[in-house]
């Protein structure tokens, strides 16, 4: 009896340990952190990364006016089947925002989805895409970030249903949903490859424009083939070449002035995406167009 109880106890301890192991939060590997720390950071290049990555779309207060130096006070609500996520204050305020962070902490957050205290971030924050960003772009982004204003607006807690309200569940999701490398094969054409980097790693187009499986992992076999709107109303349209049917010039124009070939304006969340892409150099929009045009 005593032996059986001991065995049972050992199994329970092992089970809890395995659970903790599977749900643990790991930052970036040391080599990745070293590459980021060694990269020469540049504020102007960081602004380009910032706009390409669409940070302001979620982290700017919903009623704020777009600006070259946006106030990232947060508050934008993202309604999903798991509950409502509220984008936090990531301005340079030392307490309310992330003004007290180091470059390494910023990189862990953006690329590994891990907070300075070692907790998981929910994947509403698209680190599943940002993990593919180059070390140089992450260093540049932080350099630009530090030039942004501070706001003391408190972050609003997420409003999630059980069991998603337990952050450790994200550890399992990360292991099951995130591939080791790119979601899609890299094109041979250098312009399309640059476009893949911009669209897949920074602009995170696939996060909304690709369907997901039951676990919430992106279905890479149906990459860019459209998906239900997470808010439950309407659809996110397909943007693969066969279904979109736009020329490269038409895609690049849309990302500049927001008008489709039929001169229908970008709507919904895409409006703020276009606000960001409009700030990119023309060559970046053309690269994104070159990439989209070859996604079947």
């Amino acid at each position: 009896m005593r032996k059986a109880l001991l065995t049972l106890g050992a199994c329970a301890v092992a089970g809890v340990a395995a659970g903790l192991w599977l749900t643990r939060a790991e930052g970036l590997p040391a080599a990745a952190q070293a590459a980021i720390a060694d990269a020469p950071a540049d504020t102007d290049r960081g602004a380009r990364v910032f706009h390409a990555a669409g940070c302001a779309s979620c982290h700017m207060a919903p009623e704020a006016e777009p600006s070259d130096l946006p106030v990232l006070a947060g508050g934008h609500a993202l309604q999903t089947e798991f509950g409502t996520f509220y984008a936090p204050n990531v301005s340079m305020h030392p307490e309310a925002g992330i003004g007290g962070w180091t470059l390494a902490q910023f990189a862990d957050a953006v690329q590994a989805g891990v907070s300075p205290s070692g907790a998981h971030y929910y994947p509403a924050f698209p680190y599943g895409s940002y993990r593919l960003a180059t070390p140089g772009d992450v260093a540049d982004l932080w350099a630009f970030w530090q030039s942004l204003p501070a706001s003391d607006t408190p972050s609003r807690p997420h409003d999630l249903a059980f069991p998603y309200s337990i952050r450790r569940t994200v550890g399992v999701w990360k292991r099951m949903a995130l591939p080791d490398g790119w979601y899609t094969p890299t094109p041979d054409d250098p312009e399309a490859a640059r476009g893949q980097y911009l669209a897949e790693a920074l602009a995170h187009c696939g996060e909304c424009h690709s369907p997901r499986d039951a676990l919430g992992a992106i279905d890479t076999a149906r990459w860019f083939q459209g998906a239900p709107n997470p808010s439950g109303r309407g659809n996110i349209p397909p943007i693969n070449a066969s279904e979109l049917g736009w020329s490269e010039a038409e895609i690049a124009n849309y990302l500049t002035d927001g008008f489709s070939p039929q001169f229908e304006p970008a709507g919904g969340s895409m409006t703020s995406v276009v606000r960001n892409t409009a700030r990119l150099p023309e060559e970046d929009r053309r690269a994104i167009a070159a990439y989209l045009a070859q996604v079947e």
């Binding site: 001169f263 919904g268 969340s269």
Partner: protein, 153 residues
């Protein structure tokens, strides 16, 4: 004996309502879709010139800006009657928030009108002036479609 015709009548009424919801689009929704088509046609000419896809022509630009301006001068209450939201009419993409925040919706149109007025003034004055005004029009379109329209485009 009376029950049967009553049930039949109810079935007809219910059937008729379903048919109305699915196939008959209210006149106001059709009118709005036409209004948006006029705007797309006009902006297609103006943005086409701004993009460099159509050669600049002062008269054509002025005409397109005039039609765009005319399309914004409709009485809102007649164009957007209650009961025509995306929840109530299948082909409508007008979000219910329009009627929940009517004053905000009116303000949205008013700010779009400011951009359209600027375009009407700029359009005949050369390509550079037109290019300077097209951004405001685009932002006006985008702002309304961001907040008041069911997104599935």
């Amino acid at each position: 004996m009376k029950l049967i015709p009553l049930a039949l009548a109810s079935a007809l009424v219910v059937g008729g309502t379903v048919a109305l919801a699915q196939s008959d689009v209210p006149a106001a929704v059709k009118a709005r879709q036409g209004q948006m088509q006029i705007q797309a046609l006009s902006i297609g000419i103006l943005a086409g010139m701004a993009r460099g896809n159509i050669e600049y022509d002062a008269e054509l630009a002025a005409g397109a800006a005039h039609n765009l301006k005319s399309s914004t001068e409709m009485n809102l209450a007649i164009m957007w009657p209650e009961g025509t939201s995306s929840d109530e009419v299948m082909s409508s993409r007008a979000l219910p928030v329009i009627w929940e925040d009517w004053a905000g919706f009116e303000a949205e149109w008013a700010s779009f009108t400011v951009a359209v007025d600027a375009m009407e003034a700029a359009a005949p004055q050369g390509l550079e002036a037109l290019q300077g005004a097209i951004g405001g029009v685009g932002r006006g379109c985008g702002s309304c479609h961001e907040n008041w329209q069911l997104s599935n485009n």
